[in-house]
C-alpha cells in the first residue's frame, strides 16, 4: 500500500511487538463517502455505551422527530440516545443486539415515517462564548461516546481538567479492512479540527497532536490543508509507521511520547487525553450544528461485500439492511469491527451501535484446527503490552485465574497479535476473554457472598439482641411482680395493724362502758 512521505512533526518512539497483517484498506477507501437510502426500521440498543443502560423516555406509539431524545442517561456514567429519524416507536423490549453473546437486550424499535424531519436544534456558531460546564453539558446531552470502539462516554473523559497538557487525536486506524477514519479525514478534516478546538477550549493550555499511520497519505494531506485553512498552526501532525496495533490508546501514547500509561492508570495520569477523530467530528456536529450523535461513518467491506465503501449509517440500522443496500448476498458471515478485534454477528436483525466502525461481510471459513502450544514464543514477541501470552494461555486454559492475573491478564488489550502469529492456530485472545469474564463474574459473586455474610451476621446479631431483650423484659416483669406481691403483703400487714388497733380501741371503749355502768 502507498505510504506517506510526510515527515512527522514530533519525534516518534517505539512500541514493543506488533504485527503487519494484510491491510485490505484499498477495497473501501477509494470511493467517496456515500449515504444509504433511509431505512424503514431502526433498533436502538440502550446498553450500547460503557456504563449504565439508558432509560427510555418514550412509550410505544409515540411519534418522535429526528434527533429527539428517546432514552435518557441513567446517572452521569451513561449516555443519551436520540431518534435516528422521524417516525413512530413500535416497541420497547428485548430485541437482538450486536453483542458476541448473540443475546437479546432492551432496545427501542423505531419505524421511520420517511419524512426524516429534524426536531429543533440548538446550534452554536460561537462556541468560544460557552463556558466549560455548558460545553460539557452539550456534549453529554448530544449522546457523544468514544467512536473508536470502546463507547466510553466522552463527557466523563473530558471531565478531568487539572494536569492535562496534551490532546491526542487518534487517527491511526491500525486494524485491517477499516477505513472510516481515513475517509472521514479526507473529506471532513476541517470539521474534525474544529471539533478538536472545542475540546481544546475545555482546557487552559493544551497541545494538540494528531497521531496517524503513514498508510493514509491522502488523509495526511487533507489534514495539512485543513490546518492551513483554519489557521491552526499549533496542531502537530505525528505520522507513525504502519504497524498493528499502533492505534490502541496506550500504544499510540507510547509512540508519541515514549511514556507508558501506568498499570491500572489512565492516560490522564500522564497529562494526556485522547479522542478518536470520529468523536471530534461528532463533537463538532453536536456543538456547532447542534446535532446529536445519531449517525456514524461505517466501513462496509469484506470479500462478500459487493459495493465496499464508507457509508453514513444512522444508529440502529439493522445489519441486514446494510447487506441488502450493498447487494452483498454472497456473504453469509458478518463481523462487527475489524478482523482482529471484532466479533461475529449472530443475528442480522441487530442494529448498528455507536461503536460500530466496520462491518465485514464474507463467507464463513472453517477455522484451522487448534493445535498444541509448542512454546515457540512468537506470541511474546508480538505482544504490544510486553506480556507473556503463552503463560496467560496455560493459566486461562486450566482455570488458574489467579495466576493469570499475576501475569497481568488485565493489561491485555485483546488486540489479537499473539493469535495472529501463533503457528498452532490457538485462538489465544478468546482464552483471555474467557479468563477475564470468569474473573469478573467471580468478583461479582464474591461481593455478593460478602454482602450475604454481612446480612447473615446482622440477622444473627438481631436475633441475639431480640432474645436478650426478651429475657431482660421477662426478668423485669418478674421483678415487678415480685415487688407488687411484696407490696401487697405489706398492705395486708398494715391493714391488719389498723384492724388490730381499731379492735383494741373498741375493746377499750367496751371495757370503759362496762366499768361506768
Amino acid at each position: 500500500m502507498e505510504r506517506s512521505t510526510f515527515k512527522s512533526e514530533i519525534p516518534i518512539y517505539q512500541i514493543p511487538g506488533g504485527i503487519h497483517p494484510a491491510e485490505h484498506k484499498t477495497e473501501s477507501n477509494q470511493a467517496a463517502i456515500q449515504k444509504l437510502p433511509l431505512g424503514k426500521e431502526f433498533t436502538i440498543n440502550l446498553k450500547a455505551q460503557a456504563g449504565k443502560r439508558c432509560l427510555p423516555v418514550v412509550s410505544v406509539g409515540d411519534k418522535v422527530l429526528k434527533g429527539q431524545v428517546i432514552a435518557e442517561s441513567d446517572g452521569i456514567f451513561s449516555s443519551y440516545q436520540h431518534a435516528p429519524t422521524s417516525g413512530t416507536i413500535t416497541a420497547i423490549e428485548k430485541l437482538p443486539i450486536a453483542h458476541p453473546s448473540g443475546m437479546k437486550d432492551l432496545c427501542i424499535r423505531l419505524e421511520a415515517d420517511s419524512q426524516d424531519q429534524w426536531c429543533d436544534l440548538k446550534a452554536t456558531k460561537k462556541y468560544q462564548e460557552l463556558n466549560r460546564e455548558q460545553l460539557l453539558a452539550r456534549i453529554f446531552e448530544a449522546g457523544i461516546v468514544g467512536l473508536g470502539g470502546a463507547s466510553f462516554p466522552s463527557h466523563i473523559k473530558l471531565q478531568r481538567q487539572d494536569g492535562i497538557k496534551t490532546l491526542i487525536l487518534n487517527a491511526a486506524e491500525c486494524e485491517p479492512y477499516i477505513s472510516c477514519d481515513d475517509r472521514l479525514l479526507q473529506e471532513h478534516s476541517k470539521q474534525i479540527l474544529e471539533g478538536a478546538m472545542v475540546i481544546a477550549q475545555l482546557y487552559d493550555d493544551i497541545e494538540v497532536i494528531v497521531g496517524i499511520e503513514d498508510n493514509k497519505p491522502k488523509a495526511i494531506q487533507a489534514l495539512v490543508d485543513a490546518r492551513e485553512a483554519c489557521n491552526k498552526k499549533n496542531i502537530k501532525i505525528a505520522v507513525v509507521p504502519t504497524k498493528y496495533p499502533s492505534g490502541g490508546e496506550k500504544q499510540l501514547i507510547q509512540l508519541l511520547t515514549g511514556k507508558e500509561v501506568p498499570k491500572g492508570g489512565l492516560p490522564a495520569d500522564l497529562g494526556i487525553v485522547m479522542h478518536n477523530v470520529a468523536t471530534c467530528f461528532a463533537i463538532y456536529e453536536a456543538i456547532i450544528e447542534g446535532k446529536p450523535l445519531i449517525k456514524r461513518l461505517v466501513t462496509l467491506t469484506g470479500e462478500g461485500c459487493n459495493q465496499p465503501g464508507n457509508y453514513w449509517v444512522p444508529i440502529g440500522t439493522p445489519i441486514h439492511e446494510l447487506v441488502s443496500a450493498t447487494n452483498s448476498n454472497r456473504a453469509n458471515h458478518y463481523i462487527m469491527g475489524g478482523p482482529m478485534m471484532g466479533f461475529d454477528i449472530q443475528n442480522t436483525e441487530a442494529g448498528i451501535i455507536k461503536a460500530t466502525n466496520c462491518v465485514i461481510m464474507n463467507q464463513q471459513n472453517p477455522r484451522d484446527a487448534e493445535m498444541a502450544c509448542i512454546r515457540c514464543g512468537a506470541c511474546m514477541d508480538a505482544c504490544p503490552a510486553s506480556l507473556l501470552p503463552q503463560q496467560l494461555y496455560w493459566h486461562a486454559k486450566s482455570d488458574e485465574f489467579e495466576k493469570a492475573e499475576e501475569y497481568d491478564l488485565f493489561d491485555c488489550i485483546e488486540c489479537g497479535a499473539c493469535a495472529y502469529v501463533c503457528p498452532s492456530n490457538i485462538p489465544l485472545v478468546q482464552y483471555y476473554r474467557y479468563a477475564k469474564s470468569s474473573i469478573r463474574n467471580q468478583r461479582v459473586e464474591k461481593s455478593k457472598a460478602d454482602k450475604a455474610r454481612e446480612r447473615h451476621e446482622a440477622r444473627q446479631e438481631r436475633l441475639e439482641r431480640v432474645k436478650r431483650e426478651k429475657a431482660e423484659k421477662h426478668r423485669k416483669a418478674a421483678e415487678a411482680r415480685r415487688k407488687a406481691a411484696e407490696a401487697a403483703g405489706q398492705d395486708d400487714a398494715k391493714k391488719a395493724a389498723v384492724a388490730a388497733a381499731l379492735a383494741r380501741v373498741q375493746a377499750k371503749k367496751k371495757n370503759q362502758k362496762e366499768e361506768s355502768s
Binding site: 494484510a22 437486550d105 463481523i335 471459513n365 463474574n441
Partner: protein
C-alpha cells in the same frame, strides 16, 4: 571460663528473645481464629445449611476443627479446590449425600397466593424477604442467596426457586472460536 561465658551469653540472649516474644504476643495478639475467617471467606455464604451446620461460619469452624471440606454443594468442585488450596488438604469429590451443585437460583413468591404467615421471613438467613403478618411477602432478588430454606416452611407452597437467567451483564465467554482467515502476507 569459656564455658561459663558461653552459658552467660546464651542465657542473656534467651532472656532478650523471650522478652521480645512475650511483648509481641501481647502487642500483636489476634482476636479470634484467623483460619476460620479465611475458610469462611472461601465458602459461598449461601447459609443453606446443606453441610449440616446452621450456616457457613459454623461449618468454617467445623472445618478448622478437622471436618471434611466436601460438604458444601453450592460451593461445588471449585469450592472444594479452593478449600484444599487454602488448607493444604487433598482435593476430594463432593459429598453427594449433601446435595448436588445446581444452577444458581433465587426464591420467587407467587404473591397472589401468599397468605402472609411470615414463616418464610423467619426462615430466611439473610433477611431477604419483606412482608408483614397477613400482608403479602416478596423476595428482594438481589439479596437472595438461593438457599432454599424458605420453601419448606411455606404452608401454601407459593415459593418457587427460579434459575437466575443469563443476561448481558453476567454472560461470559466460552470456548474460543476464530474469525476469518486474514493470514496473508502483506
Amino acid at each position: 571460663m569459656d564455658l561459663i561465658t558461653a552459658v552467660i551469653i546464651l542465657s542473656f540472649l534467651a532472656l532478650i528473645f523471650g522478652a521480645i516474644l512475650g511483648f509481641a504476643s501481647i502487642k500483636f495478639k489476634v482476636e479470634g481464629d484467623p483460619i476460620v475467617d479465611q475458610i469462611n471467606d472461601v465458602l459461598p455464604q449461601t447459609q443453606c445449611g446443606q453441610c449440616g451446620y446452621p450456616g457457613c461460619k459454623p461449618y468454617a469452624q467445623a472445618i478448622a476443627n478437622g471436618d471434611e471440606i466436601n460438604k458444601c454443594p453450592p460451593g461445588g468442585e471449585a469450592g472444594v479446590k479452593a478449600l484444599a488450596d487454602l488448607l493444604g488438604r487433598e482435593i476430594i469429590p463432593l459429598d453427594e449425600e449433601r446435595g448436588e451443585t445446581g444452577p444458581v437460583t433465587v426464591a420467587y413468591i407467587r404473591e397472589d397466593e401468599c397468605i402472609g404467615c411470615t414463616k418464610c421471613i423467619q426462615a430466611c438467613p439473610v433477611d431477604a424477604i419483606l412482608g408483614a403478618p397477613k400482608l403479602m411477602h416478596t423476595v428482594i432478588v438481589d439479596e437472595c442467596t438461593g438457599c432454599d430454606l424458605c420453601v419448606e416452611p411455606c404452608p401454601v407452597d407459593c415459593i418457587d426457586m427460579l434459575e437466575v437467567p443469563e443476561t448481558i451483564s453476567n454472560w461470559k465467554w466460552q470456548q474460543p472460536e476464530m474469525k476469518i482467515d486474514f493470514k496473508e502476507v502483506s
